[in-house]
C-alpha cells in the first residue's frame, strides 16, 4: 500500500510540473493565434481556409459545432456500415451491425468512446484510423474549443463575437493534439506498442494452443486515446492489453497523458485572465478531489475480496480479481481513478471486479460530471458549472450579488447553468430507471441484485457523462443499450456544450466590474475547498440514494456478512 501511495505522490508531482509549460503553450491558441513556432504557417493556413476575421457569435459558434459534429457522426456511421468496401482491412471484417454502428459513431464523436464491440473483431484498420482515431482528435478539439470560448468570454468586454469554431478546431488539432500525439506515439513504440498494418498472426503458445494475435497501428491510436481523454481501445482489453500498454512506465505515462491537457487548461485559464492564482485555484480544487478519491481507492482495493478469500486466496494480498497481474496495486488504482476522474474511460483493470466501495468511487467521479480534470476541455467547462454555483451562494453570503471575475451572474446565465447541472443527472437517473423497468435487460446482466443494479448505473453514468468505461459485467451490445447509451452520450455532450456556449455568450456581453476588497476572492486554498465541496455535495445529494442501493448495499453484504 505504501508503494501505491508513493506512485500517487510521484504522479501528482510530475503532473504539477507539466501544468505550467503545457498551459503556457496552449495560451496563444486560446487567444486566437498560434504558438510562435507555427505563427507564419498559421497565417497562410487561415488565409487558405478563408478563416481570417470571421469571428462568430455564440449561437453561430454552437451551430457550427453541432453541425460539424453531426456530420462527423454520419460519416463515421457510414464508414462502419460500408467497412467491407474500404481498404486496409486484411481480416475482411464485414459491415458493423446498425445499432452498434449508431452507438459507436455517437460514442467517438462525443469523446465518450463507449465500446459495445470488441475492437479487434469488429473494426478494420481503415475505420480505426480514418474513422475512430480522426474523431478522437476532433472530439477532443471540440471540447477544448468550448473551454477556450468560455475563457475568452470571461475577459471579453461587452462583446458578442467569441471566435471561430473552425479555426479553433484546426489550430487545436494541428498545434496541440497532433504534435503531442506524435511525440507520445513514438514514446509508446519505444515501450513496445505495436504500429503496423499486418494481418493477424497465428501462433501456437507454449502450452501448444493455437492463438490468433491481432495486429494493427496501435501506438498512433493509443497516443490520442489518452491525450484526448477518448479511451476507446484498439483492442477489447483496452489498456490491459500488452500491445496497448506494455510496461509500468507506459502505464504511468498513460495516466499522465490522460490528465495533462485538462490540468494544463487550468493554467491556460490563469494566463488568459491574467491572474495565475485563478487557474491554480481550479487546479487545486480538482487535485483535492482526485487525491482524496485515489487514496480511498488504494485503501479500498488493498483489501482482498472476501469471495476470493473464501476461495483460498492469500489474505495479505490486495484485491486481485480483474486486475492485470503485470501492474501492482498502485498502478491499477491510479489508472482506475484517473480514467474515471477524467472522462477517458480507458481501463487497465476490470472495474466490475473492483471492491464495491472502489466501484462506487469510480461511479461517483463520473456522476459529478467528469469535472475532476475531466475530459479535455469538457472537464474545464464542466467544473465551471460548479464554480458558478459556488460563487452564486458564497457571493450572497458576503452580501454581494453574485459575480465571478467581474462578471455578474444574472438570471440569464443561471437558467443555462441550471439546465447544464440538471442535464446529466436526469439522463443517468432516467435511463437507469427505464433499464430497471424492462425485464429483457436482465439477460445483459452478469450479476443480479445490488451488483446488477450497479452495472446499469455505471453504464449510464459513463455514457451520459461521456466517460466510456464500463462495468465489464454488462453486455451492452443489445438494441436497448446501444440506443439508450447512444442517446445519453449525445444529449449529455451537446446539451451541456450548448448551455456553456450560451452562458459564455451572455457573459461576454457584460462589462467587467473592477474588484475590491468587498468582492468575493475567487482564488486561494479556501476557494479551492469551496469548489471541491460544492462538487461533492451536489454530486452526493443527487446520487446518494442510487449509490446506496448499489455499491453501499453490496459492500455491507460482502464485507459485513
Amino acid at each position: 500500500m505504501q508503494n501505491a501511495f508513493l506512485v500517487l505522490a510521484v504522479f501528482m508531482l510530475v503532473l504539477t510540473l507539466l501544468v505550467k509549460p503545457v498551459g503556457l503553450y496552449m495560451a496563444p491558441i486560446c487567444k486566437g493565434s498560434a504558438p510562435i513556432l507555427f505563427k507564419s504557417f498559421d497565417k497562410k493556413l487561415m488565409r487558405l481556409l478563408g478563416l481570417e476575421n470571421c469571428s462568430q457569435t455564440w449561437s453561430e459558434y454552437a451551430g457550427s459545432l453541432v453541425c460539424f459534429n453531426i456530420l462527423g457522426l454520419i460519416v463515421l456511421y457510414l464508414m462502419q456500415r460500408f467497412q467491407a468496401y474500404l481498404p486496409l482491412n486484411p481480416e475482411g471484417l464485414g459491415a458493423v451491425d446498425s445499432y452498434t454502428a449508431f452507438n459507436t459513431a455517437i460514442s467517438f464523436v462525443t469523446n465518450t468512446n463507449w465500446q459495445s464491440y470488441g475492437g479487434e473483431s469488429t473494426m478494420g484498420y481503415f475505420v480505426q484510423m480514418a474513422g475512430l482515431a480522426l474523431q478522437n482528435f476532433l472530439s477532443a478539439a471540440t471540447g477544448i474549443a468550448v473551454a477556450f470560448v468560455l475563457m475568452r468570454s470571461l475577459v471579453a468586454k461587452q462583446q458578442v463575437l467569441l471566435g471561430n469554431f473552425f479555426s479553433d478546431v484546426v489550430r487545436i488539432s494541428l498545434y496541440i493534439l497532433l504534435p503531442l500525439a506524435f511525440a507520445y506515439a513514438i514514446f509508446l513504440v519505444s515501450q513496445g506498442c505495436i504500429q503496423n498494418f499486418s494481418s493477424y498472426i497465428d501462433a501456437s503458445t507454449l502450452s501448444g494452443v493455437q492463438q490468433t494475435i491481432p495486429m494493427g497501428p496501435v501506438a498512433s491510436q493509443e497516443a490520442i486515446k489518452m491525450l484526448g481523454t477518448n479511451g476507446g481501445g484498439f483492442f477489447n482489453a483496452n489498456s490491459a492489453h500488452p500491445f496497448e500498454n506494455p510496461t509500468d512506465l507506459s502505464n504511468f505515462s498513460q495516466c499522465l497523458a490522460i490528465f495533462v491537457i485538462s490540468a494544463a487548461l487550468c493554467y491556460t485559464f490563469g494566463v488568459i485572465v491574467n491572474d495565475s492564482r485563478q487557474g491554480w485555484t481550479i487546479y487545486i480544487a480538482m487535485a483535492i478531489i482526485f487525491v482524496t478519491c485515489a487514496s480511498l481507492m488504494i485503501v479500498f482495493e488493498s483489501a482482498q475480496s472476501p469471495y476470493l478469500l473464501d476461495a483460498g486466496a492469500a489474505p495479505d494480498f490486495y484485491n486481485t480479481e480483474g486486475k492485470e497481474a503485470r501492474f501492482p496495486l498502485g498502478q491499477s488504482a491510479l489508472f482506475s481513478t484517473v480514467t474515471t476522474s477524467a472522462s477517458c474511460g480507458a481501463v487497465n483493470n476490470m472495474h466490475d471486479s473492483l471492491n464495491p466501495l472502489s466501484g462506487m468511487l469510480t461511479m461517483l467521479l463520473m456522476q459529478i460530471g467528469e469535472v475532476v480534470f475531466g475530459g479535455v476541455g469538457s472537464g474545464f467547462y464542466g467544473i465551471f458549472i460548479f464554480i458558478f454555483l459556488a460563487v452564486f451562494i458564497s457571493s450572497l453570503m458576503i452580501g454581494r450579488t453574485p459575480e465571478y471575475l467581474g462578471k455578474k451572474l444574472t438570471p440569464a446565465q443561471m437558467k443555462l447553468i441550471a439546465i447544464a447541472v440538471l442535464c446529466t443527472p436526469f439522463l443517468v437517473l432516467a435511463a437507469t430507471a427505464i433499464a430497471c423497468l424492462f425485464d429483457f435487460n436482465l439477460d445483459s446482466l452478469n450479476n443480479t441484485a445490488a451488483h446488477g443494479f450497479s452495472e446499469y448505473l455505471y453504464a449510464f453514468s459513463s455514457a451520459a457523462n461521456n466517460n466510456g468505461s464500463a462495468f465489464a459485467g454488462l453486455n451492452a451490445n443489445t438494441p436497448f443499450f446501444n440506443i439508450a447509451t447512444g442517446l445519453c452520450m449525445f444529449f449529455g455532450r451537446f446539451i451541456v456544450i450548448i448551455c456553456i456556449l450560451g452562458c459564455a455568450g451572455a457573459i461576454a456581453k457584460q462589462k467587467i466590474i473592477p474588484s475590491s476588497s468587498g468582492t468575493l476572492p475567487t482564488f486561494g486554498l479556501f476557494f479551492s475547498f469551496l469548489i471541491a465541496g460544492t462538487v461533492i455535495l451536489i454530486g452526493a445529494l443527487t446520487f446518494l440514494p442510487a449509490l446506496a442501493l448499489g455499491p453501499v448495499v453490496e459492500h455491507i453484504e460482502v464485507f459485513f456478512n
Binding site: M397, I398, G399, M414, L437, T519, P545, A548, L549, V553
Partner: protein, 690 residues
C-alpha cells in the same frame, strides 16, 4: 438609525393574529403558485391527504395513522411558510403606517391673499403645513427659517445657506431681479427676508407606494431573487428526479431480493419534501419583505426592492461634504493677529463683535475666545450691526467704538474708506488660511486692523473611522463639494475620503457618476435639490432627502425621511444584510439534506435492504419514526428561522474572505450538524409518545 418610533416587537399580538389568519388565506392556489418550491409541498400535502383518506377506507394499503401524520405535517410546512411571509408583511405594513405620522413637514407662512407686498416682512401671513402649499402661493420667509418650497423670489434680497444642496459652506446671495432669483426648499435663510412664489407642489406620499410594495403579491421579484429562484427550482427538479427514480430502483431491488416491498408513495413524498430546499423556499419572500421593513425602521422608504439589492453591491458612495463629512457650518478655529496686536486683543475684539451675532460662525468665535479664557460682556449701550446682503459685514458699535468683521474683500474696501491699508504680511496670512481650505475673516476695531479669524469646516468626529470601515468592505467614498479644489483637497485629506469632486455642478456630478459606472462601479448618492435630479436618476442607488424637492424625490429610488446624509451607509448595510441572509439560509437549507438522507434512506429501504441500517448513524428508533422526525424537523426549522429571516443575519463590516469563512462555518457546517441533533431529539420524543 432612528429609534424615534416604537420598535416593533416580533411577538406583537395584533401582527401575530393577523399573520395567523393570513397564513390560511394564503392557501389559495393562486398565491401558492408564486412560490414554486412551496407549491411542490402544497401538492404533496394534497396528495398525501388523498392517500390518507384512501387508506382509511382500505383503498390504499398503508398504515392510516402514518400517512395521515405525514399529510398533516406537510400541511403545517405550507402553513409555516405562509406564516413567515405574512408576519414579515404585517410588520412592514405596521412600520409603514407608523411612519406616516412621523413624516417631517416644515411650517410655511403663506401670504394672505390681497396683501400689499410692498409692506415687506410686515405682510399678513397664515401659518400652514408646507405640504399644503399650492403652486403660485406666496410665502414669506424670515432670517433663520427654512425655506419651505422651491420658488422664485418676488421681493427682497438675502443671504441663503444652500450648503445642504450645493455643499458650499459659504452663504450665497439671492434676490429678486438678480440672476439668482430662485430658492430651493430645505435651504436656510440667514439674513433679511424674502417673499417667494412657490413653483412646485410638495409631495404625494411615497409611503402609500411603499405599503403596496411590502405586499408580496404586488412586489416584483428582484433580479437576484429570480436567479436564486432558478437555482432553487433546479435543485427541486433534481430531487424530484431522485425520488421519482427511487420507485423503479426499489422495484428492481425487491424483484431480486424477493423480500420487502416497494417504497410507498407517502415515503417518497416525505423524502421529496425533506430534500427540496423548503427552508429557503419558505422564507425567501419573507427575507425580501423584512429587508424593506428594516429600511422603514431606519426611516427610509425604498421605491423598489431592486434598489435595496443594489445597495448591497454599491462600491462607490458619493457623499455631500456638508452635513455628511463636515458639520456644514464654518467654525472659528484660530486667531492670527496683525503685527503689533496681541492675540488676546484680537480675540477680545472678535468676541465683542460676535457676542450678539447668533449666526453659527459668530457663535463659534465666542466659543473659541471663551476657550482661550477671554470673557467679555456688553452693557446696554451698544448697537448690533447684523450681516446684510448690502454691507456684507457685521459687527457692533459700543459708544462710538466700531468693531467690524467680514470677508477680506469687503474689509479691504472698508479699510480703504478709512485710509488704512492691509499689510503684506497680513495678505500672506489671508492667502495661507485660504489655502488650508478655510475662510479668513478680517476683524477691524475702530480704525485698526486687528487680525484674522480662521473659519474652518470642521470634519465630523468619527467619520474617518466610518470611511475606513467602508474601505474594508470595498466601498470607495467620494466627497462632493461646491468648494474650490484647494479647500476640497484639504477637507478630503482630513476626513480620509478616497476621492473628491470640487466645485461640483449638476453636470460634473452626473459626469462623475457616469465615469464610475463606465468603469463598472455601482454608485450611490444622496441629494435633495432639483439640480441633483439628473445625477440622482443616473445613480444606481439614489437617496433623496425628504426635505428635498419633488424633482429630487421623483428621480431617486429611496427617500430618507430623516434627511440625514449619513443614511447611505445604513442603507448599504441593510442591502448587504438582506443578501447575506438569503445566501446563508440557502446554504443552510442545502446542507440540511445530508442528515435527512441518513434518516430517510435506511428507513425507506428497511424492508428490502435491512443491512442499510448501518447508515442509520443517528440510531433512530424505527423506520416510521425516522421518517416522521425528518419531516417534522423540516417543518419546524422554518418556524425556528423566521426570527432570523426577519431580523437578518448579523453583519459587521469585515473583509469578504473573513466574512465568507465565518458564514460558511456557521450556516454550512452548522447546516450539516443541526439536523442530526434536531432529528434525533424529535425521534426521541416520538418514540416516547408512541
Amino acid at each position: 438609525m432612528s429609534k424615534k418610533h416604537k420598535a416593533l416587537n416580533f411577538a406583537d399580538k395584533d401582527i401575530l393574529k393577523d399573520a395567523l389568519k393570513e397564513s390560511f388565506r394564503k392557501l389559495n392556489i393562486k398565491v401558492q403558485l408564486q412560490n414554486q418550491v412551496m407549491f411542490i409541498v402544497y401538492l404533496g400535502s394534497i396528495f398525501t391527504s388523498v392517500l390518507s383518506v384512501m387508506s382509511l377506507f382500505g383503498a390504499y394499503e398503508e398504515n392510516f395513522f402514518f400517512v395521515f401524520s405525514i399529510s398533516l405535517i406537510l400541511w403545517f410546512t405550507v402553513l409555516f411558510a405562509n406564516f413567515a411571509e405574512a408576519i414579515a408583511e404585517g410588520r412592514a405594513k405596521a412600520q409603514a403606517n407608523s411612519l406616516k405620522d412621523l413624516k417631517k413637514t416644515t411650517d410655511a407662512f403663506k401670504v394672505v391673499a390681497g396683501e400689499d407686498l410692498s409692506l415687506g416682512d410686515k405682510v399678513k401671513t397664515e401659518k400652514i403645513d408646507s405640504d399644503l402649499l399650492q403652486v403660485n402661493d406666496l410665502v414669506l420667509v424670515k432670517a433663520g427659517e427654512i425655506i419651505p418650497c422651491d420658488g422664485e423670489i418676488i421681493i427682497g434680497m438675502a443671504s441663503v445657506n444652500e450648503s445642504a444642496i450645493t455643499g458650499e459652506s459659504a452663504p450665497v446671495i439671492r434676490g429678486a431681479g438678480c440672476d439668482f432669483n430662485s430658492v430651493t426648499g430645505g435651504t436656510t435663510l440667514l439674513s433679511d427676508f424674502l417673499i417667494i412664489r412657490a413653483n412646485c407642489e410638495k409631495g404625494k406620499s411615497f409611503i402609500d407606494k411603499m405599503i403596496n410594495m411590502v405586499e408580496s403579491a404586488s412586489r416584483r421579484k428582484t433580479p437576484n431573487e429570480i436567479a436564486l429562484t432558478i437555482l432553487l427550482l433546479s435543485l427541486t427538479i433534481v430531487f424530484i428526479m431522485v425520488t421519482a427514480a427511487m420507485l423503479p430502483f426499489s422495484e428492481f431491488a425487491v424483484k431480486f431480493n424477493e423480500n420487502g416491498h416497494i417504497v410507498s408513495y407517502s415515503v417518497l413524498i416525505a423524502l421529496l419534501v425533506c430534500l427540496i430546499p423548503t427552508t429557503i423556499g419558505g422564507l425567501l419572500s419573507a427575507i425580501g419583505v423584512a429587508g424593506m421593513g428594516r429600511l422603514l425602521n431606519a426611516n427610509v422608504i425604498a421605491k423598489s426592492g431592486r434598489a435595496v439589492e443594489a445597495a448591497g453591491d454599491v462600491d462607490v458612495l458619493l457623499l455631500d461634504k456638508t452635513g455628511t463629512i463636515t458639520y456644514g457650518n464654518r467654525q472659528a478655529s484660530e486667531f492670527y493677529p496683525d503685527i503689533g496686536v496681541s492675540k488676546t486683543d484680537l480675540a477680545r475684539s472678535a468676541l465683542l463683535a460676535s457676542l450678539v451675532d447668533d449666526t453659527p460662525e459668530g457663535r463659534s468665535i465666542v466659543t473659541l475666545a471663551n476657550k482661550m479664557g477671554i470673557h467679555e460682556e456688553l452693557n446696554n449701550d451698544f448697537t448690533f450691526i447684523p450681516f446684510s446682503a448690502q454691507t456684507k459685514m457685521s459687527g457692533v458699535n459700543i459708544k462710538g467704538r466700531q468693531i467690524r468683521k467680514g470677508s477680506p474683500e469687503t474689509m479691504t474696501k472698508y479699510l480703504e474708506t478709512l485710509d488704512v491699508f492691509v499689510s503684506k504680511a497680513m495678505m500672506r496670512t489671508v492667502n495661507e488660511v485660504a489655502s488650508h481650505g478655510s475662510t479668513p475673516l478680517l476683524v477691524v476695531d475702530d480704525n485698526k486692523l486687528m487680525g484674522i479669524v480662521e473659519l474652518k469646516d470642521i470634519v465630523k468626529a468619527g467619520i474617518k473611522e466610518q470611511f475606513a470601515k467602508l474601505r474594508v468592505m470595498g466601498i470607495k467614498t467620494v466627497m462632493i463639494t461646491g468648494d474650490n479644489p484647494l479647500t476640497a483637497a484639504a477637507i478630503a485629506a482630513e476626513a480620509g475620503v478616497d476621492d473628491f469632486l470640487a466645485e461640483a455642478t449638476p453636470e460634473s456630478k452626473l459626469n462623475t457618476i457616469v465615469k464610475y459606472q463606465k468603469e463598472g462601479h455601482l454608485v450611490a448618492m444622496t441629494g435633495d435639490g432639483t439640480n441633483d435630479a439628473p445625477a440622482l436618476a443616473q445613480a444606481d442607488v439614489a437617496v433623496a432627502m425628504n426635505s428635498g424637492t419633488q424633482a429630487a424625490k421623483e428621480s431617486s429610488n429611496m427617500v430618507d425621511l430623516d434627511s440625514s446624509p449619513t443614511k447611505l451607509i445604513d442603507i448599504v448595510h441593510i442591502g448587504k444584510q438582506m443578501l447575506i441572509t438569503r445566501g446563508s439560509l440557502t446554504t443552510f437549507s442545502i446542507a440540511n439534506d445530508v442528515a435527512k438522507y441518513f434518516a430517510i434512506i435506511p428507513a425507506a429501504f428497511a424492508t428490502t435492504y435491512p443491512e442499510l441500517n448501518v447508515l442509520n448513524v443517528m440510531g433512530l428508533a424505527s423506520p416510521s419514526s425516522a421518517l416522521l422526525s425528518a419531516v417534522i424537523f423540516n417543518a419546524l426549522i422554518i418556524i425556528a428561522l423566521i426570527p432570523l429571516a426577519l431580523r437578518g443575519v448579523t453583519y459587521k463590516p469585515m473583509s469578504a474572505k473573513t466574512l465568507l469563512i465565518k458564514n460558511i462555518c456557521i450556516y454550512g457546517l452548522g447546516g450539516i450538524i443541526t439536523p442530526f441533533i434536531g432529528i434525533k431529539l424529535i425521534d426521541m420524543l416520538i418514540s416516547i409518545i408512541l
